[in-house]
């Protein structure tokens, strides 16, 4: 029998408040699925979700209410079908589903059992922080009576206080040897792959389908990462190329610094919002100042003097501090792209606007205007913060409800090229192309900018 083309249906079952809806949220990458709350009986009906491979439904998952009263239900079953009758599991369950109590006291349990009977297999979600108790064993007895494969999913296995070993031992005693650790809040990078691998062991008729799903998930992950690095690279090029000009007096300089800072902050927030959207985490909190990010490092302003030190970024001597922190002052030369080729090209090709801009800049130079741009250390800071965010998003389940924490990455990676090494040459090139910055007024793009973005992406990949 070839079941390759039919979707695999899975019932997500388990004791109440163990994270069944959370598992669906994480597997479907949808933080809006169902309702999640730390209390019993949050989900009270069956709710389905479909997972796609090449726009075909591969898996249909059903979130079910929690089992809460399995002991009393087993008592009731003994009453309905006494052991002496020697009915097998599915027959006993069928008799229960026809009984009056299946619509009253055991209404939730009846829904679960009915759904499991209708599905190919069940994922039994366990909160490994809870002790393995008699009621769990009774629950498994009931679920096993349905005669469908069950795969225990050990949720919260990354939590500090958990009883993973006792659950493994206990489940093995009940005859459930295939099981998978899957933390819905902080899933391992290959967590989903492991889950589908184990499932393929239980259901070899669907192994091909599950394999395709696994490949699809890996491809999606790679695509997300690629897109994320592009977003960061664009941020860095935009920021490196950005220039603000200021009249010679000090007030104008201070104003220009403020303008520069404001624009860069705004641009960083836009990048964060884009990343969150790409990873399908909540971005309803636009505008970006209410982003769900926590920790000193996010709270700390980009331009705060200790922001760099805190991130372990090497700060050279003579770096501007105080009112000018984060900004570099040029005497209007570095910003002029006076390369021979460019100049020739501009003159030869009659680059109308370029010449126009060039004229303005030369006039500015004559009048003693100065230009502000973002300094190297700030570029490092931006790159590290965004990389840390991407890392956090890569490791975050869609069931997570805490603030996004970028500290684990920063503590684990202290010596990347973004901390100390030489910045990619493309960023220096961007400094001499103010027109590359979308923050500026005269944004134009060309193939050199695209090449610079690609170079920065390559450097980000190394970090």
């Amino acid at each position: 029998m070839n079941k390759q083309h039919t979707a695999l249906t899975l019932a997500v079952v388990g004791h109440t408040n163990t994270g069944k809806t959370s598992l669906l949220r994480t597997l479907t990458r949808n933080p809006e699925f169902g309702q999640v709350h730390d209390s019993p009986g949050t989900t009270r009906h069956v709710e389905g979700a479909r997972l796609f491979v090449d726009s075909d439904v591969a898996i249909e998952l059903f979130d079910t209410p929690g089992m809460e009263d399995s002991m009393a239900l087993l008592d009731y079953l003994d009453q309905l079908a006494p052991p002496a009758e020697r009915l097998d599991g599915p027959e006993r369950i069928a008799r229960f589903l026809e009984s009056p109590e299946s619509t009253r006291r055991f209404e939730q349990e009846a829904r679960v059992l009915r759904q499991l009977l209708a599905c190919d297999a069940g994922l039994y979600v366990v909160d490994v922080r809870d002790p393995l108790l008699g009621k769990h064993k009774d629950e498994l007895t009931l679920l096993a009576s349905c005669g469908h494969p069950l795969l225990p999913v050990l949720n919260f296995s990354q939590a500090p206080r958990q009883r993973l070993d006792s659950w493994r031992a206990g489940l093995a005693r009940l005859g459930l040897h295939a099981m998978v650790e899957f933390d819905t809040v902080a899933p391992a990078i290959d967590g989903e792959a492991q889950l589908y691998d184990k499932l393929a062991l239980l259901m070899d008729t669907h192994a091909g389908l599950l394999d395709r799903l696994k490949t699809e998930i890996q491809a999606q992950r790679a695509m997300r990462h690629r897109d994320a690095l592009r977003l960061i690279a664009e941020l860095l090029i935009d920021t490196a190329a950005y220039r603000v000009s200021a009249a010679p007096d000090d007030t104008a300089l201070a104003d220009a610094t403020q303008e520069l800072r404001h624009a860069v902050r705004h641009r960083e927030n836009a990048c964060v919002a884009a990343l969150l959207k790409r990873y399908n985490f909540n971005t309803r909190d636009f505008p970006s100042h209410t982003l769900p990010l926590q920790g000193e490092r996010w709270g700390m302003d980009l331009f705060h003097p200790s922001a760099l030190k805190d991130m372990g970024i090497h700060v050279g001597k003579g770096m501007a501090a105080g009112a000018m922190a984060g900004a570099t002052l040029d005497a209007f030369t570095a910003g002029l792209s006076l390369g021979t080729a460019t100049l020739l090209g501009a003159a030869a090709g009659g680059l109308w606007q370029s010449a126009d801009k060039l004229g303005k800049r030369v006039m500015g130079r004559l009048k003693g205007y100065r230009e502000l741009s973002v300094d190297d250390a700030l570029l490092r800071l931006l790159a590290l913060r965004q990389l840390a965010l991407v890392h956090a998003l890569d490791h975050r389940g869609h069931a997570a409800r805490e603030m996004i924490d970028i500290n684990p990455y920063l503590e684990g990676n202290k010596k990347t090229l973004w901390h100390k090494g030489e910045l990619p040459g493309a960023l220096y090139e961007a400094r001499s192309h103010p027109e590359w910055s979308t923050l500026g007024e005269h944004y134009t793009t060309d193939s050199r900018r695209k090449a610079a973005v690609d170079a920065v992406i390559a450097a980000l990949k190394l970090a």
């Binding site: 004791h15 109440t16 479907t28 990458r29 949808n30 699925f33 730390d38 209390s39 019993p40 009986g41 009270r44 009906h45 709710e47 389905g48 979700a49 479909r50 997972l51 796609f52 726009s55 249909e60 929690g66 009263d69 002991m71 009393a72 619509t103 006291r105 209404e107 829904r111 922080r129 002790p131 108790l133 008699g134 009621k135 064993k137 009774d138 009883r163 699809e216 998930i217 997300r224 897109d227 592009r230 836009a270 959207k277 790409r278 990873y279 636009f286 080729a341 090209g345 030869a348 090709g349 009659g350 680059l351 109308w352 979308t438 944004y443 134009t444 793009t445 060309d446 193939s447 695209k450």
Partner: protein, 476 residues
């Protein structure tokens, strides 16, 4: 008028990509647009991610009138191009008339050639040169055209339209071919008009051709005429012979046939050095542009497109919901039946405690019966049996607040409370944050709130003495 071939009306694919690019620029610059309805429509239609991006853009564009903006800009751009073409027409004609003069003076051959082809040759060389230096460079004619359309466009949205076109052409590497189409096309018009004017004037008037020099010798002109005329001669334009060239120094009258030969030589130069290269480059660039635009794809990693992936091509969708749930079944404590002479005044039992929690939770007073931990179904039945047989006056049930109070546990507690005279529930680990849940569930089941306690020694003391006033800290 030859229309530059890369500039077809923005129909179909190019227009879709164009509108998508305008929306992308707008969203990356000013934040996301509200597109809930459009995304639902796109999801219903299906297709690849690129198709979905274009479909969303089409719908959002139609809603916000962006397609109108694009079309308006396009009309303006065509109009500007037409105006430039007319200008080129007049310039060409003017150049020809200027080169030949009104016929009262003899035409200086070299100056006429420079007037007809000088600027053209110079710009052509610059264009070729700039191609090597800056591949993205755009000709100054194209820049003039873009600048003019910008002056005509109104509002920031309209300003995005040409920018989007530039982004698209940069991405497909067609900026230079497209710009070449415009500039070569305009030059072609100018040169054709110059040629036609030239022929018309030569047909209608009598011109004398001559060369003039102060410094150079006649041999130089012979050589120059041959050099310039060599290529046109290959194309069939006859070359003046040496004696004719030497005779055309303006000092002696020429026969009419000689002037005819010179006029054909001049026309040959305009055709071969002016019209043919421009036409060739126009065709070449047109072919390049057409091929480049044929390669037009949605760059899925671009900021503004990349973020749409999860929404336009979700890995999962919501499917079904079964019947809505009925009211929650809440277990209720039943009134305790009158109890005859209790054999034990006080009892203690642990309900569903983890094996690693200590038992009993503290030193027990003398008169308290320890009924042990109760977990499995058999243990539950045993406990209920014991309590029914010997109902205690005071019962203390110990639970773990770290667990979730499910319906089964609450039902058991309610049943046990119904058997004993006075029941209190002691919560261990009450600082785990689920204590309010226990409180809520037990209150719903009919256990009064003051019977839910968290202070272990006080609860055990009270269990021993039955004295309610010893002041054990209750859960607040």
């Amino acid at each position: 008028m030859p229309e530059p071939s890369g500039e077809r009306p923005p129909a179909g694919r190019l227009r879709d990509h164009w509108i998508a690019e305008v929306i992308r620029l707008r969203e990356t610059q000013w934040g996301p647009l509200d597109d809930g309805k459009e995304v639902r429509q796109v999801l219903a239609r299906g297709g690849s991610f690129a198709e979905r991006v274009l479909c969303r853009a089409r719908r959002v564009g139609a809603r916000d009138g962006l397609d109108e903006t694009v079309d308006t800009w396009w009309r303006g751009a065509r109009l500007t191009l037409l105006a430039l073409a007319v200008l080129a027409l007049f310039t060409g004609a003017g150049a020809a008339m200027g080169a030949l003069g009104n016929g009262t003076h003899a035409v200086n051959l070299l100056l006429a050639l420079v007037a007809l082809l000088g600027l053209h040759t110079l710009t052509l060389l610059v264009w070729l040169l700039s191609g090597f230096l800056e591949p993205d460079n755009v000709s100054w004619l194209t820049n003039t055209w873009l600048w003019l359309t910008r002056k005509l466009a109104k509002g920031p949205q309209a300003a995005l339209v040409p920018r989007a076109l530039l982004e698209l052409s940069n991405r497909t590497r067609t900026t230079r071919p497209l710009s070449g189409c415009i500039s070569h096309g305009l030059w072609l018009i100018a040169l054709l008009s110059a040629l036609l004017t030239l022929m018309a004037l030569l047909a209608a008037r009598r011109y004398q051709f001559q060369w003039e020099t102060t410094l150079l010798s006649a041999d130089t002109f012979v050589w120059l005429t041959h050099a310039l005329g060599w290529l046109p001669a290959l194309a069939g334009f006859p070359l003046p012979d040496d004696t004719l060239i030497r005779a055309s120094n303006g000092l002696q009258p020429l026969p009419d046939s000689a002037n005819a030969v010179w006029s054909v030589w001049l026309a040959g130069c305009v055709v071969v050095y002016g019209i043919v290269p421009r036409l060739g480059l126009l065709l070449w660039n047109g072919w390049q542009a057409r091929r480049g635009l044929g390669r037009l794809r949605v760059d899925e990693t671009l900021p503004g497109f990349a973020e749409l992936r999860e929404r336009l091509l979700p890995v999962a969708t919501h499917s079904t919901v079964d019947t809505p749930p009925p009211a929650v079944f809440t277990p209720q404590r039943r009134a305790s039946s009158s109890v005859a002479a209790p054999p034990c005044p006080a009892a203690l039992a642990g309900i569903e405690l983890a094996p690693d929690l200590p038992w009993p939770p503290g030193p027990l007073p003398e008169n308290v019966t320890d009924l042990g931990r109760v977990d499995s179904r058999t243990e539950r039945h045993g406990l209920l049996q014991v309590l029914h047989d010997h109902p205690p006056e005071r019962l203390l049930l110990v639970c773990d607040a770290g667990q979730t109070p499910d319906r089964g546990t609450v039902a058991l507690l309610a049943e046990l409370a119904g058997v004993a005279g006075h029941t209190q529930v002691l919560l261990l680990n009450h600082n785990t944050g689920r204590t309010p849940l226990w409180q809520q569930q037990l209150t719903q089941a009919g256990l009064p709130e003051q019977d839910l306690v968290t202070d272990i020694p006080a609860a055990l003391r009270r269990l021993g003495t039955g004295n309610d006033t010893t002041g054990g800290a209750r859960h607040e």
